[in-house]
């Protein structure tokens, strides 16, 4: 692992790091904020998975999480959204290929060689982080935005007991039922929709997976709400399952980091209450 940059911020260190990923077969970059802490202490860690077109940099610059993470003593981890580099296949569209890994392990050519974001986020990066940063891996939370909200929900549902707290900002809740999801899953893992259920939060809940609790914020002025995000599908799934969830429709908010940064401190506080109990 190499250090790209470190900046003192909110009493801690905002770092950016790169490493050679076995899962993706490429260099991968991520950012980590480590608040000020006692020597030898280990802190809870909150994972943030980003949305389409983003890298680690968007939330690092615009996410407004550092004040809250410093207040509560929580490490904030922001990975990239796909493999990068000249050897990695891409697509002209913003919603497929680079910047659009969808947190799946691709099985279809030409994507299968590098688009292994599930394995990267679920296995490889946690091991790296546990080795290099002062984190208590028994106290992990996960959140994300849009495609990254989908990633947070499905990774938490697939790994029961790993995350004490789960939230999302404007998540894709059912790739089976939206154009973004249909395009990505067809391209990365093929046309058999039965295989998609492992990457669909609503289907996983219907199939019996559960979260300990859930906080979701969704803006009512989000241009993607009606066609892509369809928050009501998640509301219906958690109702059918009797799963505790707080799903809030936030009047007038859109899909941007203006929305995310507005509710970020509240999400960090919500995670902190569950990570530090």
């Amino acid at each position: 692992m190499e250090t790209v940059s470190t900046n003192r911020a909110h009493g801690g260190i905002q770092g950016v790091y790169t490493h050679a990923s076995v899962a993706t077969g490429t260099p991968m970059t991520f950012s980590v904020f480590v608040p000020d802490h006692a020597p030898g202490a280990v802190l809870p860690v909150l994972w943030y998975l980003s949305g389409l077109t983003c890298t680690h940099a968007n939330v690092t610059e615009k996410g407004a999480y550092r004040a809250a993470c410093a207040e509560y003593g929580i490490v904030f981890m922001a990975p990239d959204t796909s493999p990068r580099g000249d050897d990695v296949p891409d697509d002209e569209a913003y919603d497929f290929g680079k910047g659009a890994g969808f947190y799946v392990d691709a099985t279809e050519a030409p994507w299968a060689a590098h688009f292994r974001m599930r394995r990267y986020i679920e296995q490889e990066l946690p091991a790296l982080v546990a080795q290099h940063f002062p984190v208590n891996m028994a106290r992990q939370g996960i959140t994300g935005h849009s495609m990254g909200g989908h990633g947070a929900l499905t990774i938490a549902l697939r790994n029961p007991g790993r995350f004490r707290s789960v939230s999302a900002f404007a998540p894709i809740v059912s790739p089976l039922h939206c154009p973004w999801g249909e395009k990505a899953l067809t391209g990365y893992i093929g046309a058999d929709r039965a295989h998609w259920r492992q990457y669909d939060a609503c289907a996983m809940i219907d199939d019996g997976a559960r979260l300990p609790d859930l906080l979701v914020d969704q803006g009512t002025a989000d241009n993607f709400l009606a066609e892509q995000l369809k928050t009501y599908l998640l509301e219906e799934a958690v109702a059918r399952a009797g799963m505790p969830a707080t799903i809030r429709m936030q009047g007038g908010y859109d899909h941007s980091y203006y929305f995310i940064s507005t509710f970020m401190a509240e999400h960090v506080g919500w995670h902190a209450a569950r990570l530090q109990g």
Copy 2:
């Protein structure tokens, strides 16, 4: 005035606007955050002047001011740092020409035609803002970063009584005594250093100008501290003048928005205490 964009954020509206400036003879873009407020109410306004290479966008995206401005009920105004456009002369360097207006009225060719940032910030933009936004112009504060800290200090010193509160992040305190200032003032207003004193905070204080109070934060790991910023010159000037000032050296912080965003909420609170008394 035309609206470029509006986004709901922290209960208010983050807007970006453009207008045809008489002072610069160009279109000018600025951002304004207006917190939620009672119908008909007018709010104090805090001006933020940006540093070299920046537009309104840097602080708007990375400044982390909205939570505090919403909490205290303060409008946040972020102008651009120079005229823009194909008709505007430029320089290859990052520290002169576009993005480097230094908040002066240029008198030298070819800059004098458009580089009228003093007149723009001191006269034209306040009149426009008073006309279009719910602001109480009897309750103005001003702050800024680096070149914008220089702007905030000198504009406040030149306009006694206009600003109830003044602060700065890592300001250029004496253009007479740093390479950035010498280059810019020579280029924009000529070689006669006697004319520079109206654009030099330390010289203005020595010449009798005063601020009601002052808060400055400066990072000790700022790469520009020794050669360009020379905070000690301001410390010496306020000491000679017996002017109240809180000048804080912040250990380990650099010149970036990681530094600015760390202390932004505290600055907004400091302004609020003086704007709302």
